[in-house]
Symmetry: C2
Subunit: 343 residues, 2 copies
């Protein structure tokens, strides 16, 4: 298993990315290919102990976090993210991981390895730790201003992902809206709903924001603007809640005593709110496994994302999405192919 | 101070609404006018002790939670929510509170008391308890599919509300988007940004979902679809977090001991996550104070909402929004009036 990692992507690249790669090699059965400025990477690698399983692959350029994605990818032909995807094409890598500019990851992926047949818009699937079951929110940021058919694509890709990678069979699918009644929602949701009703999904109708933390609906579909706001909001709230609880406990002698006494329960509580633990979010719809991390991902998050990427390759995620899309003509009428055969 | 309360609006109306009204009369210096089916209301009121300060005003009909709002308000001419707004027009009440169908509250308000001059779209302002300062998120559900000029209206109304009712002077205003760079966002946000830059707002640019829990930007503007998703998500997450913490504490002897020992710290923590404490959200832009509650609001939430409505009347909220809007021609070019004079 060879994972190409964009060493130059992220707020603290390449330092943090390199640390994450070293950690991943220790933790998972993977070979990591660090793609980026080889002189910088090698200088930072040398003092470390374990660099078995790490290979460095040179790329002259890097896309900055605030570069306009498409333009940057077109002009910087030797950017680290583009070269990472080229390693897939050359069959020298099996998956790509990046904490860089997510628009640039998407653009580089489309231009280099291309999209799975039937996918107009690759999308990022966020996984939320809900009470009953993990919940997939898709799209959490790859696409703004979507069409109804794009939302249907997201649902189908998420279904394949849920079953291949999260062990969720025939997951319930909801459309994120502002009221559960069919007539409620914005133009996009109202137009998407009939498509969802006739495409063999286990569609439960509209759901509200609160369902993201319940787990009674396993796949929640929305455009990437709404999904990204939801993702960032829940991360911000998780941070705020942890800070608040710590402040309250530190303010009293009993609280401080408790922090030592019941540290296990508190640790479990904090872990459940720790969005870094999952590592990264899969970008679904490209012709290779790719996992997107936060720009400010820690070494642990980068390492976990590399582990996820390897797991998704093993689970044949790309092949399973391709199979799912084959059964549907998303941009036209629903396919007449047997739904059971494709799900 | 006379607050007209829609007794028939809400999932458990009129029982819960009546209990809330009785509580409000006990708590605040207000007279409550319960509007709805007088025989039902009077039957439920009689066994209670304190009905001083409560008046019942009969209305034949009620709008159901799942009625199409505009149609219901037009056809049910004697609905409780419409009659409540008519009491404002007749100068028999000073404010309206309802836990009913929010689309119907909006429609009844527009048809009965009308909008403040310069407001095309009244909007609901949600107040979040952030770390540094309360944060106003506007709109949290009155309008989907907004135009850029609507977002500007929301910002101006929220500015007047922040200063009149929350004591926030010259609050910082952000546009909710998916990245802080100016070029990021969907079509709506990109088109709204130039309007925000030239209308005398203390505009800090784009903000992300995580800012809602920070408080470094006091007003965050978005369309009502995005805002409602954000509101419901944060409520769902608050519930999930409280359940999770309780589960962790109950699972160990130390945890159970702590719950008694540091119950004050835990109470403060829970209160901070308790969105019911605020009671309701003001619907800004109508020609009267109106406060919207959750459909499943508790008596305590209804009572708090009545208290808020009275406070907003005292603060001359409607007059202050009218003054703010006077300085701006939102739907055309920015007014040439002196910005300082209006803010």
């Amino acid at each position: 298993m060879r994972v190409a990692v964009d060493a130059m992507g992220g707020d603290q690249a390449p330092e943090v990315v390199i640390q994450g790669a070293v950690r991943a090699v220790d933790t998972y059965q993977v070979q990591v290919i660090l793609v980026g400025d080889s002189s910088v990477i090698e200088e930072q690698l040398s003092p470390m102990d374990d660099i078995e399983g790490i290979r460095v692959y040179h790329a002259d350029e890097a896309v900055a976090m605030d570069d306009p994605p498409l333009k940057a990818v077109r002009h910087k032909k030797r950017s680290s993210i583009k070269v990472a995807f080229e390693l897939i094409k050359k069959k020298e890598a099996d998956a790509v991981v990046s904490a860089g500019n997510s628009g640039a990851i998407l653009a580089a992926g489309i231009l280099t390895v291309g999209r799975i047949k039937g996918v107009a818009r690759p999308a990022i699937a966020g996984v939320f730790p809900a009470e009953k079951s993990p919940v997939i929110l898709i799209d959490v940021g790859a696409n703004v201003d979507c069409k109804p058919s794009h939302l249907l694509e997201f649902a189908l890709m998420a279904e394949a992902y849920a079953s291949a990678c999260l062990g969720l069979q025939y997951p319930k699918v909801g459309l994120l809206s502002i009221g559960e009644e069919g007539g409620k929602g914005n133009e996009l949701v109202r137009a998407a709903r009939p498509l969802f009703e006739k495409n063999g999904l286990n569609f439960v109708g509209n759901v509200e924001g609160r369902h993201i933390f319940k787990g009674d609906v396993e796949i929640i579909v929305c455009d990437g603007f709404v999904g990204n706001v939801a993702l960032k909001l829940s991360e911000g709230m998780a941070d705020a809640v942890r800070n608040m609880l710590n402040r309250e406990l530190d303010a009293s002698a009993q609280g401080r005593e408790f922090k030592q006494m019941a540290s296990e329960a508190l640790d479990r509580f904090h872990r459940a709110l720790d969005y870094e633990a999952f590592g990264g979010a899969p970008l679904l719809g490209l012709n290779c496994v790719s996992v997107v991390c936060h720009g400010d991902a820690s070494p642990r998050a980068i390492s976990n994302a590399i582990g996820l990427a390897a797991k998704y390759v093993d689970a044949k995620l790309v092949e399973k999405i391709a199979l799912k899309m084959k059964g549907h003509d998303v941009n036209g009428s629903p396919s007449l192919m047997n739904e059971k055969g494709s799900s």
